[in-house]
Symmetry: C2
Subunit: 329 residues, 2 copies
């Protein structure tokens, strides 16, 4: 364990640059711990980033995202591309849960020196999920990974928020993903760049395909139209087509300056997201630690002080916000 | 339209207290507009609130929540209970979309003077969804509605966040809600207080019932165990059982001080949520309006300034937050 203390800002940055596994593992652990050293290293490395193609992979639990990921990695490794994976599992209270459950499907890649895989739970790291994911992506990007996959479990807002930094977002569905189809149809879930319908052997796969087609036909017909690919990840079927579509999306992004535009918007969004999460945490700590603020909540509970007045007093005290700031009136 | 200007703080509060429909409609519109008059009226009325049983109704789109709601309202109106409904539809850019789509199922109740129904889109009102829902609930509570239903479309975090103020949360599912079952199983979606499986005539209804039972068997077995009810809302079947379970939950809450505890925690959560949303909006405006902050984002885009340093500068400038506040290190 003493070896852990050996990294300095310079050696850690150099190790990451060289793609050294120990350096990568250490840097991401420091990111998760919100360690100042991680902050400094990422700051040093940031000018060298922008190389990696960041691919988000999302979908409801159980559709086989990990199998898809394992199959995609197998394919791109055959083309000699280097790979990083950040797997976000909000149901797991643990970080580095890489040996449990779905992650088992990725084990075949654990020994490949050009594949770096890291699982992250939503609790247990201090920096907030958006921040940790962003910083880890930058670390893997600086390590010259050609592709960085960001995998999330679930399609809720917090998970999809993590994907806002991706260049290409892949949504995985399977027969039975009725809720996701409805959510796409109702405009609650955003339309992804590529859709994979996994478990294509299922008798209802064609029905699902038609449903997805119908949903997409309601969307915009200009610009990029999201392709739908049928896959059977466990047997590796459809994976080449899926990868082709992902690559086509990347080529489309690069062709007319769209990549630049999307990254500008993604980065701005990400900075805002991280700032907002930090402000929220600061507020949380303040309300927890400040006796005066706790007294306000007691008065709300006793119906002596209305909630909005309590909100105003809290914002004034914590953020020096005046009555008109952010109030909408 | 001239009549709209007649309301004063006193007459509006008196109108709400008396349950006057025009006063209720006006007060909630003012809430949606973030009008200072709404804030004052709710502040005046707050000490009189706490009477209503707030019932949240959520579930993926398409399961028939509006039909369930219409059937429940029919039932409780037969028992002479007065009803308020706040229907949150995040896919609708319009407020008061009460004549469109699903809302059509509630039309039979539109002329009942003891039922007040309001639909809200997520855009088009300034106060943020949690704030608008909370304030509207307080208005309906002060109008002595016995029951206030909070209906949301979708089961994402933003929708379910709205329900954090409810005393009882009902999750509606149907055969085909596979994603929701998986999300419950994975611990991504919180276990509700009562589960309704609608469209009970569907051949896969029993399968769904077994799946839900299995998920619940993994949860805690002490305290309240969420009952599962099969319904067919359009024909009104199972609605009495559903209502019985909702009432039993309320009775359970009241029996051992749990209602008090839950409301304390809900209110604290809600105040924090509203404060956090306001802080976020303040940040959004600041980043949009402040040239210096926009310049920071340009530097991030040009890879000259790393994202976290930009975040720190933004938080320092907007919220006077120091490096150690909310940074986790």
């Amino acid at each position: 364990m003493a070896g852990r203390r050996d990294w300095t800002r310079e050696t850690l940055a150099a190790g990451v640059r060289a793609g050294d596994r120990r350096a990568l593992a250490r840097a991401i652990t420091l990111v998760e711990n919100g360690d100042p050293l991680a902050y400094e290293v990422v700051r040093d490395l940031y000018p060298e980033t922008g190389h990696a193609h960041a691919i988000g992979l999302t979908g409801p639990p159980g559709v086989g995202k990990s199998s898809l990921l394992a199959a995609l990695i197998r394919l791109v490794r055959g083309q000699d591309e280097t790979v990083g994976v950040i797997s976000v599992d909000p149901s797991s209270p643990f970080t580095q849960g890489a040996l449990l459950g779905d992650r088992i499907r990725l084990t075949e890649h654990f020994l490949d020196p050009d594949v770096f895989i890291r699982s992250m739970g939503t609790r247990g790291h201090l920096g907030g999920l958006a921040e940790t994911t962003l910083q880890s992506l930058l670390v893997l990007d600086a390590a010259r990974k050609d592709l960085v996959f960001l995998e999330t479990v679930g399609t809720g807002q917090s998970e999809v928020g993590v994907l806002s930094i991706a260049d290409t977002v892949v949504l995985a569905l399977m027969p039975g993903s009725g809720d996701s189809i409805q959510a796409l149809k109702a405009g609650i879930m955003e339309i992804p760049d590529v859709i994979a319908i996994n478990k294509m052997d299922h008798p209802l796969a064609k029905t699902m395909l038609n449903e997805v087609r119908q949903v997409l036909s309601l969307g915009p017909h200009e610009g990029w139209v999201p392709p739908i690919v049928l896959t059977e990840a466990v047997r590796g079927e459809g994976i080449e087509s899926l990868w082709e579509k992902i690559s086509e999306h990347r080529a489309w992004l690069e062709a007319d300056g769209e990549l630049e535009r999307r990254r500008r918007s993604n980065l701005a969004q990400e900075v805002f997201q991280v700032a907002s999460t930090r402000a929220r945490r600061h507020l949380e700590h303040a309300v927890r630690d400040d006796l005066e603020l706790r007294r306000l909540l007691d008065e709300v509970q006793a119906r002596k002080l209305d909630p909005l007045t309590a909100v105003r007093e809290i914002l004034e005290r914590v953020f020096h916000m005046g009555e008109r700031d952010g109030a909408g009136h």
